[in-house]
Amino acid sequence: MFQGPVIFGLTVNEILLAVFLTLALVFTYKTLVEKDLVKAVVYSGGEAVSYALAFVVMYAPDLVLAYVAVGLGIYSALFLFVITRTERYEKEVVEA
Amino acid sequence: MVTDALTLVGQILGCLGLVLALVGAVNDLIAAIGFVRFKNFFLRLHALTVGVIGGTFYPLIGLGTYALFCISPPLGYYVAGVSYVTAFFVLITAPAGSHAIARGAHRAGYRPEPVKEDKLAKDREEGVME
């Protein structure tokens, strides 16, 4: 078992967990504010990969299997199929 | 005597695999820098190829060899099998995927930026290809 160094009272696993969950937060925010829906689908794929990295650092490979299959495969396929049936660009909502 | 010689050969192969993993990590860093430096999608495909074959296929082969020879049997055989099969599927699927995305990008209207002659676009205008 390899024991990493301790930096500022945090182990390497905790630092990596913080970095990858911050990455997932950034991609979630970009998904929410994006007006082009295809780009939003790609951002949510990046968010799924970030969560998978966090799950690997937390030693949960079963969650990695489920999360990547749903978040990168089925979710993007379903949403691209829906976007082909509607519009690609989201319109600005006019406040009444 | 023979067992000692085989153990030594296995140790040498395992350390070579470890060095291959380190070289693959450097290749992946080069690919990441290439993604930042290249200005265009069709130029960035070069960086993608470096990142996939040099940064994923070779390190997986190296890590599999290291796990096969330098780690105690049940764990080592398991990790070696996983990494060899993953390397095989990456070698098959990644070029097909990058070709598909390049074809789709050219059809969607993205063009290479410093271009002398684009025969594919010309053929599509003349109706030779669909």
Binding site: M1, F2, V19, K39, V42, Y43, G45, G46, V49, A52, L53, V56, Y59, P61, V64, L65, A69, L72, G73, S76, L80 | C15, V19, A21, L22, A25, D28, L29, A31, A32, I33, F35, F41, V52, G55, T56, P59, L60, L63, G64, A67, C70, I71, L75, V79, V82, S83, T86, F89, V90, A94, G97, A100, I101, R103, G104, A105, R107, A108, Y110
Partner: protein, 94 residues
């Protein structure tokens, strides 16, 4: 050949390089404008993650962790195919 501690440090250095290049990919993905570029960036991030899983599984001597590497590579390919089908303007079943 090499002592065991040196082998583990080489492996940890490789993992560190992979994490650094993953961060560069993620920065580029967050500031990128065109769709095919973003798709190949997600691809590269996923393949990075596959090697990262196998290396971490060897480093921590935990065989259960290595099981996620193969489905990651396959799902990245499937994502490529979906996005290229969309960019060509065809339906998914064609």
């Amino acid at each position: 050949m090499l002592p065991l501690e040196t082998q583990m440090y080489i492996l940890a250095g490789a993992i560190g390089l992979y994490i650094f290049s993953s961060l560069i990919y993620a920065y580029k993905l967050a500031t990128e404008k065109s769709v095919p570029d973003m798709v190949i960036l997600v691809d590269s991030l996923t393949y990075d993650l596959a090697v990262f899983i196998v290396a971490l599984s060897i480093l921590t001597q935990n065989a259960y962790l290595a099981v996620g590497a193969l489905p990651l590579a396959i799902w990245a390919y499937v994502f490529d195919i979906y996005m290229s089908k969309y960019l060509e303007g065809r339906e998914l079943g064609d």
